[in-house]
Protein backbone atom coordinates (compact mmCIF):
# COMPACT_ATOMS: atom_id res chain seq x y z
CA UNK A 1 0.00 0.00 0.00
CA UNK A 2 1.34 3.43 -0.92
CA UNK A 3 0.05 6.96 -0.30
CA UNK A 4 1.18 9.91 -2.40
CA UNK A 5 0.46 13.64 -1.95
CA UNK A 6 -0.16 16.30 -4.56
CA UNK A 7 -0.22 20.09 -4.19
CA UNK A 8 -3.44 20.08 -6.24
CA UNK A 9 -6.96 20.69 -4.95
CA UNK A 10 -10.18 19.01 -6.01
CA UNK A 11 -11.04 22.03 -8.19
CA UNK A 12 -7.69 21.76 -9.98
CA UNK A 13 -8.19 18.07 -10.73
CA UNK A 14 -11.94 17.92 -11.46
CA UNK A 15 -11.78 19.10 -15.10
CA UNK A 16 -8.98 16.59 -15.83
CA UNK A 17 -10.29 13.66 -13.80
CA UNK A 18 -11.42 11.50 -16.71
CA UNK A 19 -8.21 12.05 -18.67
CA UNK A 20 -6.14 11.27 -15.58
CA UNK A 21 -7.94 8.02 -14.81
CA UNK A 22 -7.92 6.91 -18.48
CA UNK A 23 -4.19 7.57 -18.75
CA UNK A 24 -3.44 5.85 -15.46
CA UNK A 25 -5.46 2.88 -16.67
CA UNK A 26 -3.26 2.74 -19.80
CA UNK A 27 0.04 3.29 -18.02
CA UNK A 28 -0.48 1.02 -15.02
CA UNK A 29 -1.63 -2.35 -16.39
CA UNK A 30 -4.21 -4.19 -14.30
CA UNK A 31 -6.12 -7.45 -14.35
CA UNK A 32 -5.45 -11.17 -14.72
CA UNK A 33 -2.03 -11.87 -16.21
CA UNK A 34 -1.10 -8.22 -16.76
CA UNK A 35 2.52 -7.49 -17.67
CA UNK A 36 4.41 -4.25 -17.15
CA UNK A 37 6.25 -1.68 -19.26
CA UNK A 38 9.59 -2.28 -17.61
CA UNK A 39 11.12 -5.05 -19.66
CA UNK A 40 13.69 -6.94 -17.65
CA UNK A 41 15.88 -9.93 -18.23
CA UNK A 42 15.66 -12.60 -15.55
CA UNK A 43 19.13 -11.61 -14.33
CA UNK A 44 18.11 -7.97 -13.99
CA UNK A 45 14.96 -9.06 -12.15
CA UNK A 46 17.20 -10.97 -9.72
CA UNK A 47 18.84 -7.63 -8.91
CA UNK A 48 15.38 -6.18 -8.18
CA UNK A 49 14.74 -9.07 -5.81
CA UNK A 50 17.89 -8.16 -3.86
CA UNK A 51 17.75 -4.38 -4.07
CA UNK A 52 14.01 -3.57 -3.94
CA UNK A 53 13.03 0.06 -4.46
CA UNK A 54 16.73 1.03 -4.40
CA UNK A 55 17.07 -0.61 -7.81
CA UNK A 56 14.28 1.62 -9.13
CA UNK A 57 15.91 4.82 -7.89
CA UNK A 58 19.20 3.80 -9.53
CA UNK A 59 17.34 3.27 -12.81
CA UNK A 60 15.56 6.62 -12.58
CA UNK A 61 12.14 5.31 -11.52
CA UNK A 62 11.74 7.63 -8.58
CA UNK A 63 13.36 10.07 -6.20
CA UNK A 64 15.96 9.42 -3.51
CA UNK A 65 13.52 10.76 -0.86
CA UNK A 66 10.97 8.06 -1.76
CA UNK A 67 13.19 5.53 -0.01
CA UNK A 68 13.10 7.25 3.38
CA UNK A 69 9.30 7.20 3.12
CA UNK A 70 9.20 3.44 2.51
CA UNK A 71 9.40 0.92 5.33
CA UNK A 72 12.84 -0.74 5.54
CA UNK A 73 14.01 2.08 3.23
CA UNK A 74 12.51 0.09 0.37
CA UNK A 75 14.88 -2.86 0.77
CA UNK A 76 14.62 -5.97 2.94
CA UNK A 77 18.40 -6.32 3.17
CA UNK A 78 18.41 -9.98 4.22
CA UNK A 79 17.02 -11.13 0.84
CA UNK A 80 18.97 -13.92 -0.86
CA UNK A 81 17.97 -14.56 -4.45
CA UNK A 82 19.64 -17.98 -4.46
CA UNK A 83 16.82 -19.10 -2.14
CA UNK A 84 14.19 -18.14 -4.74
CA UNK A 85 13.20 -20.78 -7.31
CA UNK A 86 13.60 -20.23 -11.04
CA UNK A 87 9.87 -20.86 -11.27
CA UNK A 88 9.16 -17.85 -9.05
CA UNK A 89 11.55 -15.72 -11.14
CA UNK A 90 9.82 -16.84 -14.32
CA UNK A 91 6.43 -16.00 -12.87
CA UNK A 92 7.44 -12.55 -11.67
CA UNK A 93 9.97 -11.00 -14.02
CA UNK A 94 7.40 -9.47 -16.37
CA UNK A 95 5.12 -8.18 -13.63
CA UNK A 96 6.99 -5.11 -12.38
CA UNK A 97 4.76 -2.04 -12.65
CA UNK A 98 1.42 -3.88 -12.65
CA UNK A 99 -1.53 -3.64 -10.28
CA UNK A 100 -2.96 -7.15 -10.50
CA UNK A 101 -6.64 -7.76 -9.81
CA UNK A 102 -9.10 -8.56 -7.05
CA UNK A 103 -8.96 -5.94 -4.33
CA UNK A 104 -5.96 -4.18 -5.86
CA UNK A 105 -6.56 -0.63 -7.01
CA UNK A 106 -5.18 2.78 -7.77
CA UNK A 107 -7.33 5.59 -6.49
CA UNK A 108 -7.46 9.38 -6.70
CA UNK A 109 -8.91 10.73 -3.47
CA UNK A 110 -9.80 14.02 -1.78
CA UNK A 111 -9.24 15.32 1.75
CA UNK A 112 -12.55 16.92 2.65
CA UNK A 113 -12.10 19.67 5.29
CA UNK A 114 -14.42 17.88 7.74
CA UNK A 115 -12.37 14.69 7.42
CA UNK A 116 -9.19 15.96 9.06
CA UNK A 117 -9.16 14.51 12.58
CA UNK A 118 -5.64 15.36 13.74
CA UNK A 119 -4.95 18.86 12.39
CA UNK A 120 -1.39 19.09 13.67
CA UNK A 121 -0.18 15.75 12.36
CA UNK A 122 -2.05 16.13 9.06
CA UNK A 123 -0.28 19.43 8.48
CA UNK A 124 3.09 17.99 9.49
CA UNK A 125 2.63 15.09 7.06
CA UNK A 126 1.75 17.48 4.21
CA UNK A 127 -2.03 17.15 4.12
CA UNK A 128 -4.44 20.08 3.73
CA UNK A 129 -8.18 20.65 3.12
CA UNK A 130 -9.51 19.84 -0.38
CA UNK A 131 -6.18 18.31 -1.36
CA UNK A 132 -6.01 15.51 -3.90
CA UNK A 133 -3.96 12.44 -2.97
CA UNK A 134 -3.26 9.11 -4.66
CA UNK A 135 -3.46 5.75 -2.91
CA UNK A 136 -2.69 2.40 -4.44
CA UNK A 137 -2.78 -1.19 -3.27
CA UNK A 138 -0.78 -4.00 -4.82
CA UNK A 139 2.06 -6.32 -3.91
CA UNK A 140 4.54 -8.73 -5.40
CA UNK A 141 1.93 -10.32 -7.70
CA UNK A 142 2.49 -13.99 -8.60
CA UNK A 143 6.15 -13.81 -7.60
CA UNK A 144 5.57 -13.67 -3.84
CA UNK A 145 2.87 -16.31 -4.07
CA UNK A 146 5.17 -18.70 -5.92
CA UNK A 147 7.77 -18.28 -3.16
CA UNK A 148 5.03 -19.05 -0.65
CA UNK A 149 3.90 -22.14 -2.55
CA UNK A 150 7.48 -23.41 -3.05
CA UNK A 151 8.22 -23.23 0.66
CA UNK A 152 4.83 -24.58 1.66
CA UNK A 153 5.71 -27.74 -0.29
CA UNK A 154 9.19 -27.87 1.24
CA UNK A 155 7.85 -27.41 4.79
CA UNK A 156 5.25 -30.13 4.28
CA UNK A 157 8.02 -32.55 3.37
CA UNK A 158 10.17 -31.84 6.46
CA UNK A 159 7.77 -30.58 9.11
CA UNK A 160 6.76 -33.87 10.65
CA UNK A 161 9.54 -36.15 9.43
CA UNK A 162 12.47 -33.93 10.41
CA UNK A 163 11.09 -31.64 13.13
CA UNK A 164 8.21 -33.62 14.63
CA UNK A 165 5.76 -30.75 14.20
CA UNK A 166 2.10 -31.69 13.77
CA UNK A 167 -0.50 -29.20 12.61
CA UNK A 168 -4.23 -29.29 11.92
CA UNK A 169 -4.26 -26.96 8.92
CA UNK A 170 -1.82 -27.85 6.12
CA UNK A 171 -1.78 -24.22 4.94
CA UNK A 172 0.10 -23.46 8.18
CA UNK A 173 2.99 -25.75 7.23
CA UNK A 174 6.14 -24.53 8.95
CA UNK A 175 9.71 -25.18 10.00
CA UNK A 176 11.68 -23.85 12.99
CA UNK A 177 12.96 -20.34 12.32
CA UNK A 178 16.59 -21.30 12.90
CA UNK A 179 16.45 -24.44 10.74
CA UNK A 180 18.01 -24.35 7.25
CA UNK A 181 14.52 -24.46 5.71
CA UNK A 182 13.21 -21.69 7.99
CA UNK A 183 16.16 -19.42 7.27
CA UNK A 184 15.98 -20.07 3.53
CA UNK A 185 12.31 -19.12 3.52
CA UNK A 186 12.95 -15.94 5.51
CA UNK A 187 15.57 -14.89 2.94
CA UNK A 188 13.36 -15.81 -0.03
CA UNK A 189 10.36 -14.02 1.48
CA UNK A 190 12.48 -10.85 1.76
CA UNK A 191 12.89 -11.11 -2.02
CA UNK A 192 9.11 -11.06 -2.37
CA UNK A 193 8.95 -7.96 -0.15
CA UNK A 194 11.59 -6.29 -2.34
CA UNK A 195 9.67 -7.08 -5.51
CA UNK A 196 6.59 -5.44 -3.97
CA UNK A 197 8.56 -2.30 -3.02
CA UNK A 198 9.92 -2.14 -6.57
CA UNK A 199 6.52 -2.77 -8.11
CA UNK A 200 4.95 0.11 -6.21
CA UNK A 201 7.96 2.33 -6.90
CA UNK A 202 7.65 1.82 -10.68
CA UNK A 203 3.90 2.47 -10.44
CA UNK A 204 4.59 5.72 -8.58
CA UNK A 205 6.95 6.69 -11.39
CA UNK A 206 4.16 6.09 -13.92
CA UNK A 207 1.72 8.14 -11.81
CA UNK A 208 4.18 11.04 -11.75
CA UNK A 209 4.55 10.80 -15.54
CA UNK A 210 0.79 10.82 -16.05
CA UNK A 211 0.14 13.81 -13.75
CA UNK A 212 3.05 15.68 -15.28
CA UNK A 213 1.71 14.95 -18.75
CA UNK A 214 -1.85 16.04 -17.97
CA UNK A 215 -0.98 19.19 -16.00
CA UNK A 216 2.03 20.13 -18.18
CA UNK A 217 4.21 20.59 -15.12
CA UNK A 218 6.94 18.46 -13.61
CA UNK A 219 6.05 16.06 -10.81
CA UNK A 220 8.17 18.05 -8.30
CA UNK A 221 6.16 21.23 -8.78
CA UNK A 222 2.91 19.23 -8.61
CA UNK A 223 4.05 18.11 -5.16
CA UNK A 224 3.82 14.37 -5.91
CA UNK A 225 5.62 13.38 -2.72
CA UNK A 226 5.20 10.06 -0.99
CA UNK A 227 3.74 9.81 2.47
CA UNK A 228 4.42 6.14 3.12
CA UNK A 229 4.72 2.66 1.68
CA UNK A 230 3.96 -0.44 3.70
CA UNK A 231 3.64 -4.21 3.13
CA UNK A 232 0.51 -6.11 4.09
CA UNK A 233 1.99 -9.54 4.02
CA UNK A 234 5.38 -10.21 5.51
CA UNK A 235 7.15 -11.57 8.55
CA UNK A 236 9.26 -9.20 10.58
CA UNK A 237 11.79 -9.79 13.37
CA UNK A 238 10.82 -7.45 16.18
CA UNK A 239 11.28 -6.96 19.89
CA UNK A 240 8.10 -7.14 21.97
CA UNK A 241 7.23 -7.54 25.62
CA UNK A 242 5.82 -10.93 26.55
CA UNK A 243 4.82 -11.54 30.20
CA UNK A 244 6.86 -8.53 31.27
CA UNK A 245 10.01 -9.67 29.45
CA UNK A 246 11.46 -8.31 26.22
CA UNK A 247 11.62 -10.99 23.56
CA UNK A 248 12.62 -11.16 19.95
CA UNK A 249 9.64 -12.41 17.93
CA UNK A 250 8.76 -13.07 14.34
CA UNK A 251 5.59 -11.13 13.70
CA UNK A 252 3.81 -12.32 10.58
CA UNK A 253 1.37 -9.75 9.31
CA UNK A 254 -0.86 -11.36 6.70
CA UNK A 255 -3.45 -8.94 5.40
CA UNK A 256 -2.40 -6.69 8.22
CA UNK A 257 -0.51 -3.42 8.66
CA UNK A 258 2.19 -2.50 11.15
CA UNK A 259 0.98 0.13 13.62
CA UNK A 260 3.93 1.31 15.70
CA UNK A 261 3.72 3.92 18.45
CA UNK A 262 6.25 6.78 18.48
CA UNK A 263 9.85 5.84 19.12
CA UNK A 264 9.89 2.31 17.66
CA UNK A 265 12.91 1.44 15.52
CA UNK A 266 10.69 -0.05 12.80
CA UNK A 267 9.40 3.45 11.94
CA UNK A 268 11.38 5.41 9.32
CA UNK A 269 13.37 8.23 11.01
CA UNK A 270 11.20 10.86 9.36
CA UNK A 271 8.16 9.69 11.35
CA UNK A 272 9.75 8.11 14.41
CA UNK A 273 8.69 10.90 16.79
CA UNK A 274 5.08 10.76 15.51
CA UNK A 275 4.31 7.05 15.28
CA UNK A 276 4.08 5.07 12.06
CA UNK A 277 1.71 6.21 9.33
CA UNK A 278 -1.01 3.55 8.98
CA UNK A 279 -2.89 3.36 5.69
CA UNK A 280 -6.20 1.48 5.71
CA UNK A 281 -8.08 1.15 2.44
CA UNK A 282 -11.86 1.03 2.27
CA UNK A 283 -14.06 -0.03 -0.63
CA UNK A 284 -13.98 1.88 -3.91
CA UNK A 285 -17.27 3.58 -3.02
CA UNK A 286 -16.67 4.70 0.53
CA UNK A 287 -13.23 5.96 1.43
CA UNK A 288 -9.88 5.18 3.02
CA UNK A 289 -7.97 6.39 6.04
CA UNK A 290 -4.58 7.53 7.21
CA UNK A 291 -3.96 6.83 10.87
CA UNK A 292 -0.97 6.83 13.19
CA UNK A 293 0.34 4.05 15.42
CA UNK A 294 -1.34 4.33 18.86
CA UNK A 295 -0.23 3.75 22.44
CA UNK A 296 -2.23 0.54 22.79
CA UNK A 297 -0.72 -1.05 19.68
CA UNK A 298 1.46 -3.34 21.82
CA UNK A 299 -1.70 -5.28 22.67
CA UNK A 300 -1.85 -6.55 19.07
CA UNK A 301 1.92 -6.87 18.59
CA UNK A 302 1.72 -3.54 16.78
CA UNK A 303 -0.56 -4.78 14.04
CA UNK A 304 -3.80 -3.43 12.70
CA UNK A 305 -6.27 -4.04 9.86
CA UNK A 306 -5.26 -3.32 6.26
CA UNK A 307 -8.74 -2.83 4.89
CA UNK A 308 -12.39 -2.91 5.82
CA UNK A 309 -12.84 -6.63 5.11
CA UNK A 310 -15.40 -8.37 2.92
CA UNK A 311 -18.87 -9.30 4.06
CA UNK A 312 -19.71 -11.58 1.14
CA UNK A 313 -17.99 -13.78 -1.43
CA UNK A 314 -17.11 -12.57 -4.92
CA UNK A 315 -19.64 -14.98 -6.44
CA UNK A 316 -22.41 -13.60 -4.25
CA UNK A 317 -21.45 -9.98 -5.01
CA UNK A 318 -21.56 -10.76 -8.73
CA UNK A 319 -25.09 -12.10 -8.35
CA UNK A 320 -26.27 -9.04 -6.44
CA UNK A 321 -24.50 -6.15 -8.21
CA UNK A 322 -24.13 -5.26 -11.87
CA UNK A 323 -20.77 -3.78 -12.85
CA UNK A 324 -21.94 -1.41 -15.57
CA UNK A 325 -24.85 -0.12 -13.48
CA UNK A 326 -22.47 0.43 -10.57
CA UNK A 327 -20.05 2.33 -12.79
CA UNK A 328 -22.83 4.69 -13.94
CA UNK A 329 -24.16 5.23 -10.42
CA UNK A 330 -20.69 6.00 -9.12
CA UNK A 331 -20.16 8.45 -11.98
CA UNK A 332 -23.29 10.31 -10.86
CA UNK A 333 -21.84 10.47 -7.37
CA UNK A 334 -18.62 11.99 -8.73
CA UNK A 335 -16.44 8.86 -8.80
CA UNK A 336 -15.01 8.00 -12.21
CA UNK A 337 -13.95 4.37 -12.31
CA UNK A 338 -12.24 2.33 -14.99
CA UNK A 339 -11.90 -1.41 -14.72
CA UNK A 340 -10.67 -4.31 -16.79
CA UNK A 341 -14.01 -6.09 -16.30
CA UNK A 342 -17.54 -5.25 -15.18
CA UNK A 343 -17.76 -8.53 -13.29
CA UNK A 344 -14.59 -7.64 -11.40
CA UNK A 345 -16.18 -4.29 -10.60
CA UNK A 346 -19.36 -5.91 -9.25
CA UNK A 347 -17.23 -8.10 -6.97
CA UNK A 348 -15.73 -4.96 -5.44
CA UNK A 349 -19.01 -3.10 -4.80
CA UNK A 350 -19.07 -1.07 -1.61
CA UNK A 351 -21.85 -3.28 -0.23
CA UNK A 352 -19.59 -6.34 -0.42
CA UNK A 353 -17.40 -4.76 2.27
CA UNK A 354 -17.88 -3.82 5.90
CA UNK A 355 -18.47 -0.16 6.67
CA UNK A 356 -14.97 1.33 6.73
CA UNK A 357 -16.05 4.07 9.17
CA UNK A 358 -17.10 1.42 11.71
CA UNK A 359 -13.84 -0.48 11.28
CA UNK A 360 -11.79 2.71 11.74
CA UNK A 361 -13.84 3.87 14.70
CA UNK A 362 -13.18 0.55 16.44
CA UNK A 363 -9.46 0.80 15.62
CA UNK A 364 -9.33 4.39 16.88
CA UNK A 365 -11.26 3.73 20.08
CA UNK A 366 -9.13 0.72 20.93
CA UNK A 367 -6.05 2.95 20.74
CA UNK A 368 -4.25 0.60 18.33
CA UNK A 369 -4.14 3.34 15.66
CA UNK A 370 -5.47 6.89 15.83
CA UNK A 371 -7.32 8.67 13.03
CA UNK A 372 -5.47 11.41 11.13
CA UNK A 373 -7.38 11.92 7.86
CA UNK A 374 -10.13 10.25 5.84
CA UNK A 375 -9.94 10.31 2.05
CA UNK A 376 -12.92 9.99 -0.28
CA UNK A 377 -12.52 8.55 -3.78
CA UNK A 378 -13.06 10.54 -6.97
CA UNK A 379 -11.24 8.32 -9.48
CA UNK A 380 -10.31 4.67 -9.49
CA UNK A 381 -8.44 2.16 -11.61
CA UNK A 382 -9.48 -1.42 -10.82
CA UNK A 383 -7.83 -4.68 -11.71
Amino acid sequence: MRLVLTSLTYNDVKPHLKTLVDKLFDRVPAGVGSTGFVKLTKDEFRKVVVEGAEWCIKKGYGWEEDLERTELNGKADWADVSKVSSKAIERGFKQIGTLGSGNHYLEIQVVKPENIFDQELAKKWGLFPNQVVIMFHCGSRGFGHQIGTDYLQLFLSVMERKYGIKILDQELACAPFNSPEGQDYFKAMAGGVNMSFANRQVILHRIREVFSDVFKQDAESLGLKMVFDVSHNRASLEEHEVDGKKKKLIVHRKGSTGSYPAGRVEIPKLYRDDGSPVIIGGSMETGSYLLVGGEKAHETFMSTAHGSGRTMSRTKARNIYSGDKLQKEMMQRGIYIKSVSFSGLAEEAGGAYKDIDDVIEATHMSGISKKVVKFVPIGNVKG
Binding site: G33, G142, L156, F342
Partner: protein, 143 residues
Protein backbone atom coordinates in the same frame (compact mmCIF):
# COMPACT_ATOMS: atom_id res chain seq x y z
CA UNK B 1 -18.73 -29.20 -16.15
CA UNK B 2 -19.36 -30.62 -12.68
CA UNK B 3 -18.03 -27.92 -10.40
CA UNK B 4 -19.70 -25.20 -8.42
CA UNK B 5 -18.45 -22.12 -6.64
CA UNK B 6 -19.27 -22.02 -2.95
CA UNK B 7 -20.56 -18.75 -1.59
CA UNK B 8 -19.98 -18.82 2.13
CA UNK B 9 -16.80 -20.83 2.60
CA UNK B 10 -14.06 -18.25 2.15
CA UNK B 11 -15.50 -14.80 1.57
CA UNK B 12 -12.17 -13.09 0.91
CA UNK B 13 -11.07 -15.83 -1.50
CA UNK B 14 -12.77 -18.16 -3.96
CA UNK B 15 -13.95 -21.64 -2.98
CA UNK B 16 -15.23 -24.40 -5.25
CA UNK B 17 -16.33 -28.00 -5.18
CA UNK B 18 -15.50 -30.25 -8.15
CA UNK B 19 -16.62 -33.78 -8.91
CA UNK B 20 -16.04 -36.59 -11.41
CA UNK B 21 -16.79 -40.27 -11.91
CA UNK B 22 -13.07 -40.96 -12.07
CA UNK B 23 -10.14 -39.22 -10.45
CA UNK B 24 -9.18 -37.92 -13.90
CA UNK B 25 -12.63 -36.39 -14.43
CA UNK B 26 -12.53 -34.73 -11.04
CA UNK B 27 -9.09 -33.26 -11.83
CA UNK B 28 -10.47 -31.94 -15.11
CA UNK B 29 -13.43 -30.32 -13.33
CA UNK B 30 -11.08 -28.72 -10.82
CA UNK B 31 -8.83 -27.37 -13.57
CA UNK B 32 -11.84 -25.89 -15.38
CA UNK B 33 -12.97 -24.25 -12.14
CA UNK B 34 -9.56 -22.55 -11.86
CA UNK B 35 -9.88 -21.16 -15.40
CA UNK B 36 -13.49 -20.16 -14.79
CA UNK B 37 -12.46 -18.23 -11.67
CA UNK B 38 -10.38 -16.03 -13.94
CA UNK B 39 -12.46 -15.92 -17.13
CA UNK B 40 -16.23 -15.43 -17.14
CA UNK B 41 -16.98 -17.59 -20.19
CA UNK B 42 -15.00 -20.80 -20.58
CA UNK B 43 -16.18 -21.08 -24.19
CA UNK B 44 -14.30 -17.87 -25.01
CA UNK B 45 -11.03 -19.75 -24.39
CA UNK B 46 -10.36 -21.54 -27.71
CA UNK B 47 -8.07 -24.52 -28.25
CA UNK B 48 -5.24 -22.81 -30.11
CA UNK B 49 -2.29 -23.96 -28.02
CA UNK B 50 -1.59 -27.42 -26.65
CA UNK B 51 0.70 -27.94 -23.73
CA UNK B 52 1.90 -31.08 -21.99
CA UNK B 53 1.82 -30.92 -18.21
CA UNK B 54 3.37 -33.54 -15.94
CA UNK B 55 3.30 -33.42 -12.15
CA UNK B 56 3.56 -35.91 -9.32
CA UNK B 57 2.64 -36.05 -5.65
CA UNK B 58 2.80 -38.37 -2.68
CA UNK B 59 -0.98 -38.31 -2.25
CA UNK B 60 -4.03 -37.60 -4.41
CA UNK B 61 -4.33 -34.27 -2.55
CA UNK B 62 -0.80 -33.18 -3.33
CA UNK B 63 -1.19 -34.35 -6.92
CA UNK B 64 -4.22 -32.10 -7.39
CA UNK B 65 -2.53 -29.25 -5.53
CA UNK B 66 0.56 -29.48 -7.75
CA UNK B 67 -1.52 -29.76 -10.92
CA UNK B 68 -3.63 -26.68 -10.19
CA UNK B 69 -0.56 -24.79 -9.05
CA UNK B 70 1.09 -25.58 -12.39
CA UNK B 71 -1.88 -24.06 -14.25
CA UNK B 72 -1.54 -20.89 -12.17
CA UNK B 73 2.17 -20.79 -12.93
CA UNK B 74 1.53 -21.11 -16.69
CA UNK B 75 -1.07 -18.31 -16.52
CA UNK B 76 1.53 -15.87 -15.15
CA UNK B 77 4.71 -17.16 -16.82
CA UNK B 78 3.29 -17.93 -20.28
CA UNK B 79 -0.04 -16.03 -20.10
CA UNK B 80 -1.86 -19.26 -20.99
CA UNK B 81 -5.44 -20.14 -20.10
CA UNK B 82 -6.79 -23.65 -20.65
CA UNK B 83 -10.32 -24.87 -21.32
CA UNK B 84 -9.79 -28.53 -22.27
CA UNK B 85 -7.80 -31.27 -20.60
CA UNK B 86 -6.86 -34.84 -21.37
CA UNK B 87 -5.67 -36.38 -18.13
CA UNK B 88 -4.02 -39.65 -17.20
CA UNK B 89 -3.20 -40.55 -13.60
CA UNK B 90 -1.13 -43.51 -12.47
CA UNK B 91 -0.06 -44.65 -9.05
CA UNK B 92 3.00 -46.68 -8.12
CA UNK B 93 4.51 -47.32 -4.69
CA UNK B 94 2.56 -44.46 -3.13
CA UNK B 95 3.61 -41.93 -5.78
CA UNK B 96 0.89 -40.48 -7.96
CA UNK B 97 1.82 -39.29 -11.44
CA UNK B 98 -0.26 -37.10 -13.72
CA UNK B 99 0.21 -36.52 -17.42
CA UNK B 100 -2.03 -34.05 -19.16
CA UNK B 101 -2.47 -32.42 -22.50
CA UNK B 102 -4.05 -29.04 -21.89
CA UNK B 103 -5.61 -27.00 -24.70
CA UNK B 104 -6.24 -23.31 -24.54
CA UNK B 105 -4.90 -19.99 -25.68
CA UNK B 106 -3.01 -16.86 -24.71
CA UNK B 107 -4.90 -14.57 -22.42
CA UNK B 108 -6.38 -11.65 -24.34
CA UNK B 109 -8.35 -8.92 -22.61
CA UNK B 110 -10.24 -8.15 -25.83
CA UNK B 111 -11.48 -11.71 -26.21
CA UNK B 112 -11.77 -12.93 -22.64
CA UNK B 113 -13.88 -11.24 -20.02
CA UNK B 114 -11.50 -11.50 -17.09
CA UNK B 115 -12.62 -11.89 -13.53
CA UNK B 116 -10.09 -12.25 -10.75
CA UNK B 117 -6.44 -13.31 -10.85
CA UNK B 118 -5.76 -16.59 -9.04
CA UNK B 119 -2.49 -16.34 -7.15
CA UNK B 120 -2.25 -19.68 -5.40
CA UNK B 121 -4.07 -22.80 -4.27
CA UNK B 122 -4.62 -22.79 -0.52
CA UNK B 123 -4.16 -25.95 1.51
CA UNK B 124 -6.63 -24.63 4.08
CA UNK B 125 -9.54 -27.12 4.10
CA UNK B 126 -8.18 -28.65 0.88
CA UNK B 127 -9.87 -32.01 0.38
CA UNK B 128 -9.87 -34.86 -2.11
CA UNK B 129 -12.54 -37.45 -1.29
CA UNK B 130 -13.68 -40.77 -2.70
CA UNK B 131 -17.47 -40.74 -2.85
CA UNK B 132 -20.15 -43.30 -3.74
CA UNK B 133 -20.40 -41.91 -7.25
CA UNK B 134 -16.70 -41.22 -7.82
CA UNK B 135 -14.38 -38.42 -6.66
CA UNK B 136 -14.86 -35.00 -5.14
CA UNK B 137 -12.53 -32.12 -4.27
CA UNK B 138 -12.98 -28.99 -2.17
CA UNK B 139 -10.58 -26.20 -2.98
CA UNK B 140 -9.97 -22.62 -1.87
CA UNK B 141 -8.04 -20.37 -4.22
CA UNK B 142 -6.03 -17.36 -3.02
CA UNK B 143 -7.05 -14.39 -5.16
Amino acid sequence: MPYKFLEDVAIADVAFEAAGKTMEEMFESSALAVTNTQVKDLKSVKSRVKRKIAVDGDSSEMLLFNFLQELIFLKDAKLLLFSKFKIEITQMKGIYKLKSEASGEKLDMRKHELLVDVKAVSLHNFKVLKTKSGWKAEVILDV
